[in-house]
């Protein structure tokens, strides 16, 4: 194992070899090595957030024709460090009547839920925390823990606005989990495995975004909704909810929610890059593992850049629009997509890979086009039948009922 | 490595705790939680026995797993309908307490 070709794998091998040399039993060596790996990965990910915050603020600044942070260090790169120091020194305030246990557990759980996602993501050929055979399902299931932390925060704060924010957030997360899981089924079908590393390896010849662009689009939209970024950021709509579930938090506890949000945004970009953009696959990645890590980071940053572009350019949805988009467009589309992909996959099983991919691509584009036409049709019908006064009345009634009564 | 007995005793205890909850709690949602505990105990039992039978024979053995899948489906359906009923009853009678839902007593 050459150090330059695979520094991570080299260090891991040396470390486990050193642990084994200490005379510990094999089981203990395994446990200690895994614990150290988890510790290093978690610390690295959390420190990485410092850079992410700077990157995002700088980009958003450019989009809004500002400079962004530019005072601390070259190009303002140490600005998040200064922010962190400020947040560390702030006072912890626990509101009266708060449920102490839930209130304090929530920020920890929020960060932990995001860090858990990293345990099954393959960073390169040799570096993967655990190659679970149900890895993709694990990624979705851990999202449920994040929801739990938001509920705990909203309920534990003893604040109406926090509770309302948590309600909204969880309603949104649960709703968008449906198209997220359904669209993630398409790569699973294409790869024939639930293991994340297996899905990456199946994309050796062609990335799944080429074979299933519709699934990739649904997955991307749903994962933006999962991280609560604009245009789905109505969980922290200042004008309606003050700031959402984390209104009562201060100091480091607020900082942990902040870190969790940024890290989650980056992590879902990484999941997208892994599932649809080939993960660490790239020229020479199988022989030189460190290249795989570089490829993965490049792809992830491209996806992350697109999410920031969305955040910087799109206005916020109204809650009924958000629910309509999910239940009336994304969910039926992903269901139709799964059926179509299964049928086409069965019909073209004998063909070479190239024609199979072309068939998948055509089906995807056909479905996307049909959805587009249907949406246009319903939009034009709506505008034709509406009287001038109706839009206002509609907003008043549906916004209180979460879009259920339209 | 772990005796089957441990799993069976654990699941029996979980089932009985759930049964107690379903029988003794006032709140309709708490009764549903008790039912969930019982269903979970059933799942533990099913998977423990699946493991037992899978190690007894060499051929693939999935019946226990298939049953567990069905239990998951039933649990999801039960919770959805049960909670809808609770919410509906609460909306009309302004209480989730089953003792106070005595409309049929006249």
């Amino acid at each position: 194992m050459d150090f330059l070709r695979d520094p991570f794998g080299f260090v891991i091998q040396e470390y486990t070899g050193w642990l084994g040399g200490l005379g510990l039993p094999a089981g203990w060596v395994d446990i200690i090595a895994k614990l150290t790996g988890a510790l290093v990965l978690a610390t690295g990910a959390m420190l990485f957030v410092v850079f992410l915050i700077w990157y995002e603020r700088k980009l958003i600044g450019r989009i809004q024709d500002r400079f962004g942070p530019n005072r601390v260090g070259p190009w303002g790169i140490f600005q998040p460090v200064a922010d962190m120091l400020k947040i560390f020194t702030k006072e912890y305030i626990t509101p009266i009547g708060a449920d102490k246990f839930a209130y304090n557990l929530a920020p920890i759980l929020a960060v932990a839920a995001v860090l858990l996602l990293w345990s099954v993501l393959p960073l390169s050929v040799t570096v993967v925390g655990t190659d679970l055979n149900v890895g993709l399902l694990f990624l979705v299931a851990v999202g449920g823990l994040g929801e739990m932390s938001y509920i705990l925060a909203g309920w534990g704060s003893n604040n109406k606005y926090a509770l309302l924010g948590a309600f909204r957030l969880v309603a949104q997360l649960i709703s968008y989990e449906v198209p997220l899981v359904l669209s993630a089924l398409v790569p699973v079908m294409l790869a024939g495995t639930l293991s994340v590393n297996g899905i990456v390896q199946a994309q050796e010849s062609v990335w799944f975004i080429v074979a299933a662009p519709a699934a990739a689009l649904i997955f991307f939209i749903a994962s933006i909704a999962e991280i609560g970024r604009s245009p789905f950021d109505l969980i922290e709509a200042e004008s309606e909810l003050v700031a959402g579930y984390n209104i009562e938090y201060s100091g480091l506890k607020f900082g942990m929610f902040f870190v969790a949000e940024f890290l989650h945004a980056f992590t879902v970009s990484m999941i997208f890059a892994t599932v649809f953009l080939g993960g660490w696959q790239g020229p020479g990645a199988a022989e030189i593992p460190v290249l795989g890590f570089v490829y993965l980071m490049l792809k992830t940053f491209v996806v992350y850049f697109v999410t920031i572009l969305f955040r910087g350019t799109l206005p916020r949805f109204r809650i009924d629009q958000m629910m309509n988009l999910n239940w009336k467009v994304l969910t039926p589309l992903s269901l139709a997509l799964i059926m179509a992909m299964a049928i086409v996959g069965g019909l073209t099983r004998e063909l070479p890979v190239f024609w199979q991919v072309i068939a998948f691509l055509l089906v995807n584009l056909l479905l996307l086009g049909a959805t587009d036409q249907l949406m246009r049709l319903s939009q034009s019908r709506k505008t034709k039948s509406n009287l001038p006064m109706q839009p206002l009345r509609k907003v008043l009634t549906t916004s209180t009922k979460h879009g259920a009564g339209e | 490595m772990i005796p089957l007995a441990w799993y069976l005793i654990f699941s029996a205890a979980l089932f009985c705790i759930g049964l107690f909850g379903a029988l003794a709690r006032k709140n309709a949602v708490a009764i549903l939680m008790g039912v969930e505990l019982m269903l979970n105990a059933v799942n533990v039992n099913l998977i423990a026995f699946w493991h037992y039978y899978a190690q007894m024979r060499s051929t693939p053995y999935v019946h226990g797993l298939a049953f567990t899948t069905m239990v998951f489906v039933v649990a999801a359906a039960e919770v959805a309908v049960g909670l809808a009923l609770v919410i509906s009853a609460y909306r009309r009678r302004q209480t989730p307490v089953v003792d106070e839902l005595t409309l049929l007593k006249g």
């Binding site: 979705v140 | 705790i17 049964l19 107690f20 003794a24 709690r25 949602v29 999935v62 649990a75």
Partner: protein
């Protein structure tokens, strides 16, 4: 006693304790949170049974969906921030007696069975149960019919839940 047994005992103790808290906590919200802990403990128990698929499904379905639904309905059905009064019916002693008796009966009968003390050994890793399970669920010789019935049940529950819980305008007047 090996590592797996320690894991099992820890998970079992945590689950049973939090299950007891679920049925005895005064505040409904706390009961719901204890329920989450119980479900996570049961997920760990599934892992010790080499059924990681069901452990993940347990977290996905129970913690991610069912527990959150329960928490939602707890929040939607309480009059004030604090729950008031006793949460236990007056006849709880009888219920406890029934539950305790049932436990004694189950364990007593199981102890008579000779397979009770079998050690569960590790299954061979190449037995890919997940694949077999998936094929069994859709093969006509296996569980295709129950699987379809389960899907119909889910759809029926979905429609039923919406029909029951929808807030119609005329209901509020009449």
């Amino acid at each position: 006693m090996n590592g797996l047994q320690v894991v099992f005992l820890l998970a079992a103790l945590v689950s049973l304790f939090s299950a007891a808290m679920v049925v005895s906590a005064r505040r409904m919200m706390h009961a719901a949170l204890w329920l989450v802990l119980t479900l996570m403990g049961v997920a760990v128990i599934f892992v010790t049974l080499q059924s990681s698929f069901f452990a993940v499904v347990q977290v996905l379905v129970y913690v991610g969906a069912i527990a959150i639904l329960i928490i939602f309905s707890v929040m939607l059905t309480r009059r004030v921030m604090e729950d008031h009064g006793d949460q236990i019916l007056p006849g709880w002693r009888a219920a406890g007696l029934v539950a305790g008796l049932l436990f004694a009966i189950i364990v007593g009968f199981l102890a008579l069975w000779q397979g009770f003390t079998t050690m569960l050994v590790e299954l061979p890793a190449d037995a890919d149960n997940l694949l077999d399970l998936g094929q069994a669920l859709v093969s006509p010789q296996g569980y295709a019919l129950p699987f379809e019935l389960a899907s119909v049940l889910l759809v029926a529950a979905l429609i039923g839940a919406i029909t029951i819980a929808v807030d119609r305008k005329e209901d509020q007047h009449g």
